[in-house]
Structures are given as structure tokens and as C-alpha cells.
């Protein structure tokens, strides 16, 4: 049911992020090779690289699009401790003929003292804002007071937490009943510091973000976090990629007095689903536009699609290989690992993170297979 279209990305190192634009016709990729590439979808559905340029002097962790109302604008963040905002320049006739576009750097945000691990633009209705988080645990909120001037960004707020941050997500809700909300995930590997996901909410009175919630049940390193598109819901849905996929429902509890917005809204947190079908670290989660499907990808090299029925029962509806080939038994239901059915041994090359090999037994539980005299490098 999915057709894979392989794209020769031609990045010289790992690709860390892909991102679609607002209309789904452009795509940006970023890589450790310090470059960002922009891909445009042609009429016949092919993706053509229309721009590729060096953006940073370190690995580029994330790339993200601004709402097109602000122009064709990208933000990137990097190991080199900066985040940058880029704008596409129209014109340059000879470039156009070659099908290339030109991107220029509008600003560099240099406040971080460590690797900037994520950058995200705020939902459009909040204006031109973006937030970054960094490996030393600082979340920063920037605003461009003049949307026509992309080179001027003012640092609105800095929030430090002790844990190194890895990912950040804005709540997309445009409802005036919902205060702006940011969720930050930490990839700190010490499970003793519980609560790897912090949720901050904008307090009207102080004009600052304040901590609204800490998801105490998430104790393992979090690699990705994503609010589902809100689409008129009264609650928020948050997907988290940690050692498994988790879906949380955050229900704002109405405050007694509408005036007393001095503190953050109380949130009722429900866990809707928790899946360890990847059998490994989950690196990415992404929602479809109607927020009916969640895609997750893990160290097993598979993409899994999750879907809820009307009872909010989530289950796996598809498993996709990197090349789009369906995995045997992918139509099988939730909680049943795809490798079930016979003690077949699936050999997985371990990621560079782990060492040695990993053997998957038929039950789908990984058993570390370590060579005897292992040397640390």
C-alpha cells in the first residue's frame, strides 16, 4: 500500500532530519556533512534537489520550515552551537534556468554554549517565533518582532533544566483556550533523573513560559517528541520516541477563574499507548496531517504506522522497510512482533552506538551477542 521512491540524497554523511514544508511540496534534508538540501516535487512526482549548501561547521541536526506566510524560510541547528535562519531568494536568472535556487543566511543564533539539538518555528498564529534547545539543557525562545526582517531576532526567554535537551515541539493548537505550549525532551541517559519530558506553558501575566508538567513516567532518553496536529480538539496529543513509542493525551483542566492566569494550566495526563515493537531505540515520530496516523522509526530500520480506532485503541497498521518493502506479517496486529512465527534468527548489524552484533530471536527480544575480548576503542 506504500510505494517507495528512493532518492539519491548524495549526502556525505548521515542524514539526521527530513522535513516537509507547509504544503507538502518541498522537502529539506540535513546531514552531518554540514549541508542542507532542498528538494522540490516535480509534476510527475519526482523529487529534485534544487539547492544544496553548507550551512554550519558541524553536524546539522535538524531542519524545519517556517509557515509560508513568512516566505520560504528554513531554520537549521547544529553541533557547532548555532542555529541559523535561511531564506530563499527569488531571481538569479541563470540559477533558475539550472533549476537551482539560492538560499541566504538571515541570522545566526549564537547564544548556546553547546550543540543546538533542535529548532522549531512556532505555529503561525503566534507570529514569527522559534525555539531552540541545546545539549546543556537550555531552551530558548526567539521572536522576530518584524516579520519582514528575518535578520533580527530577539531572545525572549531562556529556560535551563539540568538535563541535556534533544528535541522540542510546539503545541500546534490555535485555540485561544489553549495557552502556547512547548514540550521538551531530554536524551540524558541517566534513568535516575525521572521525567525526561517537560512541558512549558506561556503565562499571560508574566509573559514567560513556565513549567506546566513533567511526564514522570518517561525515564529513558527521549529522542523525538511531536504534538499531533490539533484540528479543533480540546485536548493535546503528544507522541514520544524513547526506548519505545508512547502516545500521551494531555487534557487541560479548566481553571476556576478565567482571570487567574498567573499559573500554568493543570493538565490531566493520560497515556494512550506504549509500544516496544521496534525492539530498540525509537528515533523519530511524526504525525500525519489529520493526526490519525503516527509514524515511528527505530534502530531496527523500520517505519511503523500506528493508528487509533474510535475507542482510542492504538495499534500497528503497517511496517515499512527502508526500501518500502512490507515486512512479512506487517498486517498482523498490535503487540505481536513482526518476527513472530517460527524461531527465525534475524541478524541485525548493531548501530555504531552499540558494539558487536545483535541477534533477534523469534520472540523478537534482542539478545546481545558480544564477541569475547571486546576492546574499547
Amino acid at each position: 500500500m506504500f510505494v517507495a521512491r528512493s532518492i539519491a540524497a548524495d549526502h556525505k554523511d548521515l542524514i539526521h532530519d527530513v522535513s516537509y514544508d507547509f504544503h507538502g511540496r518541498r522537502m529539506a534534508t540535513c546531514s552531518s556533512d554540514q549541508s542542507v538540501k532542498v528538494w522540490d516535487k516535480s509534476d510527475n512526482g519526482e523529487w529534485n534537489c534544487t539547492a544544496s549548501w553548507k550551512t554550519h561547521s558541524g553536524s546539522v541536526w535538524r531542519v524545519t520550515w517556517a509557515h509560508p506566510e513568512f516566505g520560504q524560510v528554513l531554520a537549521s541547528c547544529s553541533f557547532d552551537r548555532t542555529a541559523a535562519v535561511w531564506e530563499e531568494i527569488v531571481g538569479e536568472s541563470n540559477d533558475k534556468q539550472r533549476g537551482l535556487s539560492h538560499w541566504i543566511k538571515r541570522t545566526t543564533l549564537v547564544d548556546s554554549r553547546t550543540s543546538v539539538t533542535d529548532v522549531k518555528f512556532a505555529p503561525k498564529h503566534m507570529g514569527l517565533m522559534l525555539t531552540t534547545c541545546s545539549a546543556d539543557g537550555v531552551m530558548r525562545v526567539y521572536e522576530a518582532p518584524d516579520v519582514m526582517n528575518l535578520s533580527q531576532w530577539s531572545l525572549q526567554q531562556e529556560i535551563s533544566s539540568k538535563l541535556s535537551c534533544s528535541c522540542i515541539s510546539w503545541s500546534p493548537s490555535s485555540s485561544r483556550a489553549h495557552a502556547p505550549m512547548i514540550a521538551v525532551g531530554s536524551d540524558d541517559s541517566n534513568t535516575a533523573y525521572s521525567g525526561k519530558v517537560h512541558i512549558y506553558e506561556y503565562i499571560e501575566n508574566t509573559r514567560k513560559y513556565a513549567k506546566a508538567e513533567n511526564l514522570m513516567t518517561v525515564t529513558d532518553p527521549v529522542h523525538d517528541i511531536a504534538f499531533a496536529p490539533n484540528l479543533g480538539r480540546s485536548f493535546h496529543v503528544l507522541a514520544i520516541a524513547t526506548k519505545d513509542v508512547r502516545i500521551f493525551k494531555l487534557i487541560p483542566l479548566r481553571k476556576e477563574s478565567a482571570v487567574g492566569s498567573s499559573g500554568p494550566t493543570k493538565l490531566q495526563v493520560q497515556i494512550l499507548a506504549q509500544f516496544d515493537n521496534h525492539n530498540s531505540q525509537v528515533w523519530r515520530v511524526s504525525w500525519n496531517i489529520s493526526s490519525t496516523l503516527l509514524a515511528s522509526s527505530g534502530d531496527d530500520g523500520c517505519v511503523r504506522l500506528w493508528k487509533a480506532n474510535y475507542m482510542d485503541n492504538w495499534k500497528c497498521t503497517a511496517i515499512l522497510r527502508g526500501d518500502g518493502s512490507p515486512v512479512a506479517g506487517s498486517s498482523s496486529q498490535a503487540a505481536v512482533p513482526s518476527t513472530a512465527g517460527g524461531p527465525q534468527h534475524v541478524l541485525l548489524q548493531a548501530s555504531s552506538a552499540g558494539s558487536g552484533l545483535m541477534l533477534l530471536n523469534g520472540k523478537g527480544t534482542p539478545s546481545p551477542y558480544r564477541p569475547t575480548s571486546q576492546k574499547h576503542l
Partner: protein, 790 residues
């Protein structure tokens, strides 16, 4: 702590063991150097010159070489080097231009041996010859390099780079006579020690100063250089022209570079500003550090591998006045935290996925990845070389395009385009929208529309339903689900008693949920929620008793909901009354057969014989339409809209909201309405459905939404008669006192669409102008302009 676990490495005769440890120095360090047997380290700085012993658990201060009450500037060291052959011999480069040698074998407290004051400015670097005991080389800010024979009182030769200040000098490890020098202007020179008149070779290595260089310990002719341009370059010097073979981009200017022992591709770097970390790079993968040491709090000034054949121990000194021994296994590996995958859902349900190739191709069950990745054979019993794994990485990027229409968002776009939201009577809008939904294979939505029509239409309208109304529009599921909904709200015990096989959980389903139940399985996907099609009447033939109890439910429900309302008792006999109507059953049967939905749903067909189902409908019509006022349904509809919204179908919520208009508006608070509108408009704009979005904005009643159309839009209107700007808001020009928007053809005021020629600003009704232009290309107003319309 695990981090502090001990490592012991056997190196031939000697053994090195230790752990990650540090000690505080009295002052910032500028440079460090180890003695040959890796047991002691010397730390030199502006205010420090000490020797520490490297013991298993700690650093132990062995000797302070800064002696005397008032130390001279000769002690202010920019660099220090311990001789690798002669264990008692040290050399320092002083900031005042002196080159000093020290003999630890001296019995006196002052170990100073020789003092050369030939340089005029700071000496940046001293370097002993790797094999020759008495040969010392220095490089200075004054642009000269000098070679000293320690048996003589002064330098034996002076090399003039004729560039700028010398930042580093390094004897080649393999070529006895060769040394390299790096300069502040970006040049690197190669000299023969025997020929002080002229360099052998010179090339520009960096833009800006080259702060450091290091010969590869094994590979003859590999020279690594680091510069302020944040780059480390590896040069192959064996060819005629120095060739850049690798380039590593770091994030700050490179102050020191040191090849890692026993690892051909690795080198360590530290920076002189901003960045306090020490990085170890695999030059084949120049973008991500292989390992990082993050202990220092200030700039790292000196790095040295503890032993020339041991790759696991690294020593470093820093401006933060600490001396560290780093264990390689305690290093942090940035790659481990680097995300190997990227994933993003596109607007049309396509999924972009980028992943490390080894992750995708790691499955042995699969054929090799189409890229033909033979670089990584999978070893079953052999330990894979981790450094090799590190070096060769790439990602595969692919886009998964959904082949299922339902997964794409086509239904959304089509629905948005085809729905009618205004401009027709309410019932027609509902019917139209129901038809649209049905054609898009969304029976639940279709049913909802039909139901809305029934609920809110005038009774007069309903009493004469067109032949295509009831049968075609899937009334059956409507009635079933509706009744089920009502039953759910009624007493559960009653339901249980009469329908023992119906499950308890059905009762809790909300209206929308129960509607899902009536969908056939193929439609599940479309609805955005997978209903387990638990069809309530699926396995029960309805007989009269059941029907009776059903009706009882209706009455029960209504009495429960609205106490003052009681169902008329004559609900029953009506069945026969309508049976008399010969037309309706026929239609019902026919349409049911035609309808793919009905035929697709076997359960439905089986469970409800035409007559029975008809009886249900026939009951329902007199039940609801004549007696129930529309507001009665408002709570139900409100709940339904909320349900659609919570399920993510904000399109339905907004469309119903608009079509129902005042019938429902006051039931839903403004904030929620505004939220729905905003969300729907945002979606429409994503799909570039500008016209629909505009229509929705126009039809909305929220002030916050309607004003969306008015922001950042300015209209400048000129009068078509006098061609001067219209100042007032009306359509009468206050200068020539004529109506500005008169059709040039029929001379009536134009309301709605007005076309005009940009050249002469005359125009009128679209149709009139069109007709006019067929006969003449001149302006209908008679101004003589050759009008152009595009």
C-alpha cells in the same frame, strides 16, 4: 563509579594503567609534555613549571622547576618539550624570547641548563630531534627558526621563513633531516636541516594562521595542520606538490593537533577559544568527532598522548588550571547521540524516511540494499571493526507514497471542493453534502448529513420526501445507529433485557461511534477510525416483539431526556398506515440493491428485511418530524460535532456548523467555534484550497475569523467617471455625484461580480461585457478605448 574503572595496557615491557583523573594546578597551563616512559608529565605556563608523576589513582607533584624568590621571565613558558631519548632533558620556550634547557640530573635545586636568548620575540615552539640527543629546534614570533646544538653556546643555524611569525616547528619522524614549520600567514614550509638558506618547499595550507602541525607517527609524509579557519588538513608530502588528502571541519580554531598512536586515521584536536573540548577525529569521516573529552572548563592549551604506542590515554592541560588524564573509554561519542534517522509525514500522506544504510540493510533476510553496499559484509563470528564501521556511513533517503486513496488526503480535498455550505435551502445542502460524502465512500458522514436534514427540516418538507431521499441516502444505518444512540442514553437494563446478545459496551458508544458501527469493513479506513464493526442487530431477526421494545426505548429515552415530553401512544399503529403507501417499499428495495453500501454490508442486509427496516423508518418519521422541535436535537448534534472534532475531522464540524447556522450556533461556545474555524482554515490553506478557505471565512460568524479576510488588504477605488479616487465608503462618487459602479452596457448598478478594463476603468456585468466584446473590441462606454480583458 563505572566511569572510573581502571584500564591496564601492556606495552611490551612497560605497563600503563590508570583511570580518568585530574589535579588542580596553581596556574593556567600553556603546554604539557610527557617523558618517554610515560610515568611523568611536565606542565608549563606563564606562572607554572612543574613535573607530576602519573600514578594509578592520582597525579603526584614530583618537582617544581620554578625556583628562586623572584622568578625571571625565562620561566614564563609558552611551550615545553621533554626529550624522548634523554629522560633528564627538557626544553622550554619563554615568552620573552628565551629558549631554555633543563637538566633534571643536576643536583642543585635549579635545574636550568642552557639559556639561548637569540630570538627577539616570544618563542612559540621548541622541538627536540626525535633521535638526535643534542639537536633542538625553536620557532618564534620574530619569524625565525633556530637550530641549537646543546653542546654549543649558541645556535648552529637560523632559518628565515620570510613569511610571518612561526607558530609551530616539528621534526619529521621518518626523515632525519626534514622539519616542517607553520606560519601565521597560512603557509607551511618544509626545510632540510642542512640547508638554512632556503626552504625545500612551501605551500599555503590555510586561510589565516596555521597554529599547529603534526607528522603522522607511521605514515611517512603525512602532515596534519590546523588553523584559525577551523580546519584540520592532512597533507600528503610525498608527492611533488603537497596534496590535501583529508580535511576535517571543526567548530572553532584549531590550537593543537596530535595523531593518535596506533590508529592510522585518528587525530586529536583542541581549540584556542570558545570551545573547551578535546576532539578525536577519524579523518575519513570529517564531520562528526569520533570521541570527545568534555572535562575542561576553559580552553584546553596542551594535549599529548601519554605513550607513543598507547592509544587509550590522553593528557591535557588547560587554562582552567587543571591537568587531566582522559581514558578513551570514558570519552563521549557524539555519534551515539546523533540521530541516524529522519522521518516526516507529508501533507498527502507520503512519508519521507532517511536512515543510516546499515540500519536498513542490517536484516539478513533481505537482499542487499539496492545501492549495492558491499563495503559492510556481515560477519557472523568475526568481530566487526568498530572504527571501520564508524568511518563508512551514509544514509538512504526514500519517500513512501501511499497508494491507497484513503491514506492520502484526497477525500479531504474533494470534500472541501464539493460541499455546498450556503446558497440553497437547508435540506438541499444536506442532501448535496450527503451525496458528496457517499460518493467519496464516507457513509458515516453521509448518514450524518441525512440525519441532520431529517432533524432540522420543517415537518412540511419531510412529509413529502422526494423519491431519492430516504432510500438513496442510507437511512437504514441512520435509523439503527440513531436508535442505538438513544438506547444508550436510555436505561441500560431495559436494553439488556430485550436484547440479551447485545453487548454491554455498545451502550457506552457515543453517537458517532455507533454510526461507525454501521459502516462496512471496507470503509473503515476512510473514516479515520477503525471501528470494530459490531453491528447491533447483526445477528438478530427483528420480530414484532423486538420492534415493540424498540419503540419502548424511544419513549423511554425521550421521557428521560425531556421530562415534560411524552411520546404519543399511537406510535404503533402508524406502521400500517404507511404500509398502505405502495410506493415507498418498492423504492426502498430497489435503492437498497443499487447502493454499494447496502450490498457491501451483508450484516445489514441480512438483519433487516425490507419490511422490517421500512417499519423502522416509517415509525421514525412520524416519531421525530411532526412532534419534535428542532432544538430538541441540539445537545445531540453538539455532542456529535465535538465528537467529529475530537476524532480529527474538523471539516465535518465546521461544515455542519455553517450549514446549520443559527440552529446550532448558540449551543457551542464561541471559543470552540473559533478554534474549529481556525483549524479548518489552516488545513484548507495547507491544501491550497484558497477559494474554499475564503468561503469558510466569509460564512463564519466569529468576528475573529471574518476579520481574517480584511487584514493586510487595501482597496483603492477610483471613480470610473471622473477617474479620481473615491474617498467615501459608498459607491457614489462625491466629486461627480454619480454612481461609480454602473454597467457600461445596461447602465444599471452592478452588484456582485464587476469586470472592468484596466485601461479605461469601464466595465460592468460579466455577461454583458462578454456579449459586447463579441461584437466590438471598443469600450462599451464609448470612451474609444480598445479594451483588453484577460
Amino acid at each position: 563509579m563505572e566511569k572510573m574503572s581502571r584500564v591496564t595496557t601492556a606495552l611490551g615491557s612497560s605497563t600503563i594503567s590508570g583511570r580518568t583523573m585530574f589535579c588542580h594546578l596553581d596556574a593556567p597551563a600553556n603546554a604539557i609534555s610527557v617523558c618517554r616512559d610515560a610515568t611523568q608529565v611536565v606542565v608549563a605556563g606563564r606562572n607554572i613549571f612543574k613535573i607530576y608523576g602519573l600514578e594509578e589513582e592520582q597525579f603526584v607533584e614530583k618537582l617544581n622547576l620554578r625556583v628562586g624568590r623572584k622568578p625571571s621571565l625565562n620561566f614564563s613558558c609558552a611551550d615545553v618539550m621533554w626529550h624522548q631519548m634523554e629522560e633528564n632533558l627538557l626544553a622550554t620556550a619563554a615568552t620573552n624570547g628565551a629558549v631554555v634547557t633543563w637538566n633534571l640530573g643536576k643536583p642543585s635545586r635549579n635545574k636550568q641548563d642552557q639559556l639561548f636568548t637569540e630570538h627577539k620575540r616570544t618563542v612559540n615552539k621548541v622541538c627536540f630531534h626525535p633521535t638526535e640527543v643534542y639537536m633542538l629546534l625553536s620557532g618564534s614570533q620574530d619569524g625565525y627558526m633556530k637550530c641549537f646544538d646543546l653542546r654549543k653556546k649558541e645556535s648552529v643555524s637560523t632559518f628565515s621563513g620570510q613569511s610571518e611569525s612561526v607558530r609551530d616547528v616539528q621534526f619529521s619522524m621518518k626523515d632525519y633531516f626534514t622539519f616542517a614549520a607553520s606560519f601565521e600567514n597560512g603557509n607551511v614550509q618544509l626545510w632540510d636541516i642542512r640547508r638554512p638558506d632556503r626552504y625545500e618547499r612551501m605551500f599555503t595550507a590555510h586561510t589565516g594562521p596555521v597554529f599547529c602541525c603534526d607528522w603522522h607517527p607511521d605514515d611517512r609524509g603525512w602532515l596534519a595542520t590546523g588553523g584559525r579557519d577551523k580546519m584540520v588538513k592532512v597533507w600528503d608530502m610525498t608527492t611533488n606538490r603537497a596534496k590535501e588528502i583529508y580535511c576535517v571541519q571543526t567548530i572553532a580554531s584549531v590550537a593543537r593537533v596530535k595523531w593518535r598512536p596506533e590508529r592510522k586515521w585518528h587525530l586529536a584536536t583542541c581549540s584556542m577559544m570558545v570551545d573547551h573540548n578535546i576532539y578525536v577525529w577519524d579523518i575519513r569521516r570529517p564531520f562528526i568527532p569520533f570521541a570527545t573529552f568534555e572535562e575542561h572548563k576553559d580552553v584546553t592549551t596542551g594535549i599529548v598522548w601519554r605513550h607513543q604506542h598507547d592509544p587509550y590515554f590522553l593528557l591535557s592541560g588547560s587554562k582552567d588550571s587543571t591537568l587531566y588524564q582522559h581514558m578513551f573509554k570514558d570519552a563521549s561519542r557524539p555519534v551515539d547521540r546523533a540521530n541516524p534517522e529522519g522521518l516526516c509525514f507529508g501533507l498527502f500522506g507520503d512519508l519521507a524516511f532517511a536512515a543510516k544504510e546499515s540500519l536498513i540493510s542490517g536484516d539478513a533476510n533481505r537482499k542487499p540494499y539496492p545501492g549495492g553496499d558491499r563495503r559492510y559484509p556481515i560477519f557472523f563470528f568475526k568481530k566487526p571493526d568498530l572504527t571501520e564501521q564508524f568511518a563508512h556511513v551514509s544514509s538512504a533517503l526514500s519517500v513512501f507514497e501511499s497508494s491507497l486513496e484513503s491514506k492520502r488526503m484526497d477525500w479531504f480535498v474533494k470534500t472541501a471542493r464539493l460541499y455546498l455550505l450556503s446558497g440553497k435551502p437547508f435540506a438541499e445542502l444536506c442532501d448535496h453534502n450527503a451525496k458528496v460524502a457517499k460518493e467519496l465512500n464516507r457513509p458515516q458522514v453521509s448518514t450524518t448529513w441525512t440525519m441532520l436534514r431529517i432533524m432540522f427540516s420543517d415537518p412540511a418538507n419531510l412529509s413529502t420526501p422526494g423519491p431519492n431521499h430516504i432510500g438513496k441516502l442510507g437511512t437504514l444505518p441512520l435509523m439503527n445507529s440513531f436508535s442505538m444512540k438513544e438506547m444508550g442514553m436510555g436505561t441500560e437494563s431495559r436494553l439488556d433485557r430485550s436484547k440479551g446478545e447485545s453487548r454491554q459496551d455498545n451502550i457506552h458508544l457515543e453517537l458517532g461511534n455507533s454510526l461507525i458501527n454501521s459502516n462496512n469493513d471496507e470503509n473503515e479506513e476512510t473514516e479515520g477510525s477503525e471501528g470494530q464493526a459490531e453491528y447491533m442487530f447483526g445477528d438478530a431477526e427483528l420480530d414484532d416483539d423486538d420492534l415493540y421494545s424498540m419503540d419502548m426505548f424511544f419513549s423511554l429515552v425521550f421521557s428521560a431526556e425531556e421530562q415534560e415530553y411524552t411520546l404519543p401512544q399511537e406510535a404503533f399503529p402508524l406502521r400500517h398506515e404507511i404500509m398502505d403507501n405502495p410506493l415507498a417499499p418498492e423504492h426502498l428495495q430497489q435503492d437498497k440493491a443499487d447502493s454499494p453500501q447496502a450490498s457491501g454490508n451483508e450484516a445489514e442486509v441480512m438483519c433487516l428485511t425490507p419490511i422490517e427496516s421500512f417499519s423502522l423508518i416509517s415509525i421514525s418519521q412520524p416519531l421525530f418530524s411532526p412532534h419534535l422541535p428542532a432544538p430538541f436535537f441540539c445537545p445531540v448534534v453538539r455532542e456529535m460535532l465535538s465528537h467529529y472534532a475530537e476524532q480529527g475531522d474538523v471539516q465535518m464540524a465546521v461544515s455542519v456548523l455553517i450549514v446549520l447556522g443559527d440552529r446550532i450556533r448558540k449551543e457551542i461556545d464561541d471559543l470552540t467555534q473559533e478554534h474549529w474555524y481556525m483549524s479548518y482554515i489552516d488545513l484548507l490553506q495547507r491544501f491550497e484550497l484558497w477559494n474554499v478557505s475564503n468561503e469558510v471565512i466569509k460564512l463564519s460568524t466569529c468576528s475573529a475569523i471574518t476579520c481574517l479576510n480584511q487584514t493586510s488588504t487595501t482597496l483603492h477605488v477610483n471613480c470610473s467617471n471622473c477617474k479620481r479616487p473615491m474617498s467615501n465608503r459608498g459607491w457614489i462618487c462625491d466629486r461627480c455625484h454619480q454612481c461609480a459602479s454602473v454597467c457600461a452596457v445596461c447602465h444599471h448598478v452592478v452588484k456582485g461580480l464587476f469586470v472592468w478594463c484596466q485601461g479605461c476603468s469601464h466595465g460592468g456585468h460579466l455577461e454583458h461585457v462578454k456579449n459586447w466584446l463579441k461584437s466590438s473590441s471598443h469600450c462599451p462606454a464609448g470612451c474609444g478605448h480598445l479594451c483588453e480583458y484577460t
